[in-house]
Amino acid sequence: MGPGRRWAMFDSRRAGIVAAPPAPRVLPLGARWRPISWVPHLILLGGVVVLVFPLYMALVGSTHEAATIARGDMPLVPGDQMAANFRQAWTVGEGLRVKATPVQVMMANSLIMALVISTGKIAISVLSAFAVAFFHFPLRMFFFWMIFVTLMLPVEVRIIPTYAVVTNLGMINTFQGLTVPLLASATGTLIFRQFFLSVPDELVEAAKIDGAGPMRFFWSILLPISSSTIAALFVILFVYGWNQYLWPLLITTSREMETIVIGITKMIGTGEAQTDWNIIMATTMLALLPPVLVVMLAQRWFIKGLTATEK
């Protein structure tokens, strides 16, 4: 990555730190702060090996027969059962010893959950940020703080009472129960509000002069210029939604509603050696594929969104 590009990428963040563009390099490339040039490669390769090895072994595990793995002599290279194992996981979901929901059902559940949570959170928070940023009304700051405070109430610290509320509303084992309680988003509201406050006043005035009402302005001007913020938030929230654990564990008790992350834990059970590890590992590979793909394909948006969201 050349010096020009790195500066371009982090332009906004640089603003407060230095004003001048980067000076020409003082030293020739070789004399930078790397006395021995293969050391960084060695450390980075070490890091990659440690991070990728478990994934590789899961892949290997998903390509052998259950008996090979259970005997404890699984080779370090892939076998020839990949297609069979993935087909079995996808359509049946269970092997000789594991009773489980077919992966296609669990994947569909996880996908619905992740999409409803991510789009729902974005929709709800973009609307409330619009209200807080573009209108003056009584109790405006009260509502803003009310949303803000939810940052301090993650689902983990109010498990039982939230579960009770969902039960009383008859939403156990439904997609509403799985998603609606997670839709409020303080982070989303904060991000959109911050972005909206930077929208030039002239843009609003021009829209008003042209006779646009608030909702017309919202649809035709505000949403289009927010698209990169929306994309970045979507990636983060999709991963968040797909990876939900404690909440689906409480809310879904029927097989048909099971999400794939919960499904893996249930398949593992007590973790006996004599179980269908090949099917479990095929399921694991399928479970991690969608969020990893989304993050990798939308890498730049995602990094920009993540480093902006969490600050």
């Binding site: 890091g47 009472p161 006043d201 593992i268």
Partner: protein, 293 residues
């Protein structure tokens, strides 16, 4: 901070806020209020009589040796997870920053575990460290190190800690890399001209300039280690063997959902709520101070 140019509808803003506020009230404030209420009362087994007992539930929770154990496990677990995940993230980011060949490939290969669910990370580690079928679990036993995390509490805690830290390295890597790229190149070049070696440039320039990010990461990593690792524990060890890997959040779940101890579980929830509130307050106070100068 407010805008100058605004719209002046009277009812529309309330309608726009309604969905968010409704969800917040029903699923956040009401349950949080219930948790506080139940932490202060005691119910008879049939739920017919409710008696206000002030802080008795809290006293009971804090006196319970199992709670003290869970607190100890959580502190050890969190400290090790945070130190490993943050220091490796920083080390890898420093190495990947700069004109290294293949930087973007390294970046992609190092950040992907961010996208993993903690429980999926647990499944991957289980498959490797299973005492009889795992590739490394078997190797340890073959080398004469008796390895069985289902029987040995310390080994179970070690496994849960490593899986949780492993999953978090990529996250810290992303933030440190983004932070390093805001450090002006001239500063580092000037230091080299003055004869500063790589180590000096790191400790005297990079590390101090990264301190806001380090602080931010410290707070969010504490939250991760305390709360988001529920899936790792639930998937790998279920808090066992014995109570060797029972963290605070796992205990809230067990006491509330499995043991149905409403008062005790609520008191524990309220204690955790105070932890989150304190962390968030510290974080925002710090960010505010940073913004001011």
């Amino acid at each position: 901070m407010t805008r100058r140019a605004i719209f002046d509808n009277k009812l529309l803003p309330y309608a726009l806020l309604a969905p968010q506020i409704a969800i917040t009230l029903v699923f956040f404030f009401w349950p949080a209020g219930q948790a506080i209420f139940y932490s202060l009362v005691r119910q008879d087994p049939f739920g017919l009589r409710v008696e206000f007992v002030w802080f008795e539930n809290f006293v009971e929770v804090l006196r319970n040796p199992f709670y003290v154990n869970a607190l100890f496990v959580t502190l050890v677990f969190s400290a090790v997870v945070i130190v490993i995940a943050m220091s490796s993230g920083l080390l890898l980011a420093v190495m990947a920053d700069g004109q290294i060949r293949g930087a973007s490939i390294y970046k992609t290969l190092l950040m992907w575990p961010y996208a993993l669910a903690p429980a999926v990370a647990a499944a991957l580690w289980l498959f490797i460290f299973h005492p009889s079928i795992g590739v490394l679990g078997r190797a340890l036993n073959a080398w004469g190190i008796p390895w069985d995390y289902t029987l040995n509490g310390n080994q179970a805690l070690l496994l849960v800690t490593m899986a949780a830290a492993w999953k978090r390295v990529g996250y810290n890597f992303i933030f440190y890399l983004a932070g390093l790229q805001t450090i002006p190149r001239e500063l580092l070049d000037a230091a080299s001209v003055d004869g500063a070696g790589g180590r000096q440039r790191f400790w005297k320039i990079m590390f101090p300039l990264l301190s806001p990010i380090t602080f931010f990461l410290l707070v969010v990593n504490v939250i991760y280690a305390f709360f988001d690792t529920f899936g790792v524990v639930h998937s790998l060890t279920r808090g066992g063997p014995g109570k060797a890997t029972e963290t605070l959040i796992y205990k809230v779940y067990i006491d509330g959902v499995v043991n149905l101890d409403l008062g005790g579980s609520s008191a524990q929830s309220v204690i955790l709520m105070l932890v989150v509130i304190a962390l968030t307050a510290v974080q925002f106070k710090y960010i505010e101070r940073r913004v001011h100068y």
